[in-house]
Symmetry: C2
Subunit: 362 residues, 2 copies
């Protein structure tokens, strides 16, 4: 678990390579109707500036498929077309020049259709994601199956599909196996990791609203990444698309797999704490975010700042972080690179920390 990663085949989604030893890429999906090009492009811009690296769009009809060309022309990140039911929409998307298509084995499965799509994609050098969803796997007695059996069904569905694609000469394949159940999702990816070396797109489907959705995604995607499984992630949330990026960044940062700005280590406080640390941490988080967003000053992406309320773990955590303050009564000791440097008052703490961060080189 100490940095051992499942090394998969490298597949290029436009200019973003995934798999191999490449960083785990963050992706999301546009929630606007694709044929509403201004709305879709507006969302893509927001996603992109939040840190989204690959964007997917639903292709529900011919108008959506045809809009892809214009979207692709006006978009700096790779575009993925999400195809269901109608294979011809996939052909249109390939024609429009998207960077990847996603097919759902649950609703496009006729051999001749899959082969035609694979050949057309291969000709244009476009990879295909085999996107299995528990909610659309074709099966009997779905409700009666247990997690493991359901996960096996998902893996079986993906493997059969891969066989069809490979038969048509397609090798640029990405696999996803999403269920709304966490255990089922984790089991499915683990099983699949033993059966192929294609890169994985990780996700939990239909996780629900923000708070519970972040929890479910963190557990499933986090525990797979902890095992070294996963090459690109999409956090599904019934909320603003930007929240999906925030959560994705949070997961990667927590695991040391990505760095998107200073990370705050802070204690929950208890009866030992003599300053209002909760308020201080929230203020610091806000001011740090605002300072970074302003673009003024350079903020190191890889930095740990510890804000601790007492002497129990305070000096230890503050010394292990790049920068830290361990509070006593009203004032704290500022640590830099493991060493106590000077006293800081509660009142000036945030200003002093921001100054230190701005001046800090790594």
């Amino acid at each position: 678990m100490d940095n051992k990663r499942r090394i998969s085949r490298v597949v290029r989604i436009g200019r973003v390579p995934i798999g191999g030893r490449f960083p785990v890429a963050i992706q999301s999906m546009v929630k606007a109707k694709t044929s509403n090009v201004p709305a879709a492009l507006g969302q893509i811009r927001k996603l992109q500036s939040a840190g989204c690296q690959i964007v997917r769009l639903a292709v529900k009809d011919l108008a959506d498929a045809r809009a892809l060309k214009k979207i692709k022309q006006n978009c700096r990140i790779p575009v993925v077309a999400d195809i269901h039911f109608n294979w011809r929409l996939g052909m249109e998307a390939i024609e429009a020049g998207v960077d990847k298509i996603r097919l759902n084995p649950g609703n496009i499965y006729k051999k001749e259709e899959v082969v035609a799509l694979a050949r057309a994609a291969k000709l244009k050098g476009i990879p295909i994601r085999v996107g299995v969803n528990s909610g659309s796997v074709r099966r009997k007695n779905a409700g009666l199956m247990k997690n493991k059996v359901q996960a096996q069904e998902m893996v079986k569905s993906a493997l059969e599909y891969i066989k069809l694609l490979e038969g048509a000469g397609m090798r640029d394949i990405v696999v996803s196996l999403k269920a709304s159940d966490i255990r089922q999702t984790v089991i499915a990816y683990r099983l699949m990791a033993e059966r192929c070396n294609y890169p994985f797109h990780l996700g939990v489907t239909a996780t629900g609203p923000l708070f519970s959705g972040v929890i479910k995604s963190s557990i499933a995607i986090g525990s797979l990444l902890l095992e070294g499984i996963g090459d690109t992630i999409r956090i599904s949330l019934t909320d603003e698309p930007q929240q999906e990026i925030k959560a994705a960044k949070g997961i990667l940062q927590a695991l040391g797999l990505g760095h998107f700005g200073p990370q705050i280590i802070s204690c929950p406080t208890c009866g030992r704490c003599e300053v209002d640390l909760v308020r201080l941490v929230n203020d610091f988080e806000k001011k740090l975010g605002a300072a970074q967003a302003s673009g003024r000053g350079k903020f190191p992406k890889e930095l740990e700042v510890a804000l601790m309320g007492c002497v129990v773990n305070g000096p230890g955590e503050a010394a292990e972080a790049d920068l830290g303050v361990a509070f006593g009564k009203k004032e704290g000791i500022l640590f830099k690179n493991g060493k106590p440097v000077r006293k800081v008052s509660f009142r000036n703490c945030i200003t002093e920390l921001l100054k230190e961060i701005r001046g800090k080189k790594r």
Copy 2:
């Protein structure tokens, strides 16, 4: 992973048994000063009504230790005293009749002190938590060690301490091994799981503010619980104590290890969705919460409600949930126990769902 649990020794924290096959208990900590009895009791009441099952309080001085008696008398959930540095405060806490004491091997480690505490606790039938924190482990070159080595240090520290306690006849032991680093935390608990059969208190220390704190805790605690490791959990957040309970419930519910009310399964929406599902789900979540909090009507604790935006995974997820709506244009199909029952309009959907939930028996 399919429900295989590490079966540990059962230890009773007052009237709450942990370990064995008992449900994973949720705990938190008071952030007010313990000697401020009204403030501490106020927080305990809030925590308790949020669903906290065990509460811990810091014991910083003699005033705190003496306040424990009054707190214990006015508190319906088991009370744990958090002891650091000064072993005599532990003796006072035991004397005050708390339900467990937590000792930190990093700052109370003299043999005669540990033995005295173990004997006094044993006499009163009070269990002891060996609470190792990465930030207060005694060691050299802390900053230079890698995750695995640091985790091994934590385990070593816990095992030596357990030996001292066992030597004094103490067997009612709970173990925690918290680091602010997720990988280190997970490795430490996994190693410890092979070395003893005492129940585990899971936690990540100093996780920081709400959003990132929930992510870190979900990954570490979630992946351990997914492996069957863990008997009681505490989510540390630099935020209101009630948020810790909400996050703890979210983690247990996501893993099927606890049921605290209807769980919402909902899609993130995309260009296929023709209703404002994000708004609907947020409204539904709020109204459901308000209806449950009002105490009017019976709400089943174990119920899945799926709210899905289109026909791709909509019917599948809606049919797998206890109750679900798969939307098309403006209206949806309501599913009950896997079967489509009737159409519902977007406008009436929440009212209809709440009616169904109120009437639903399981």
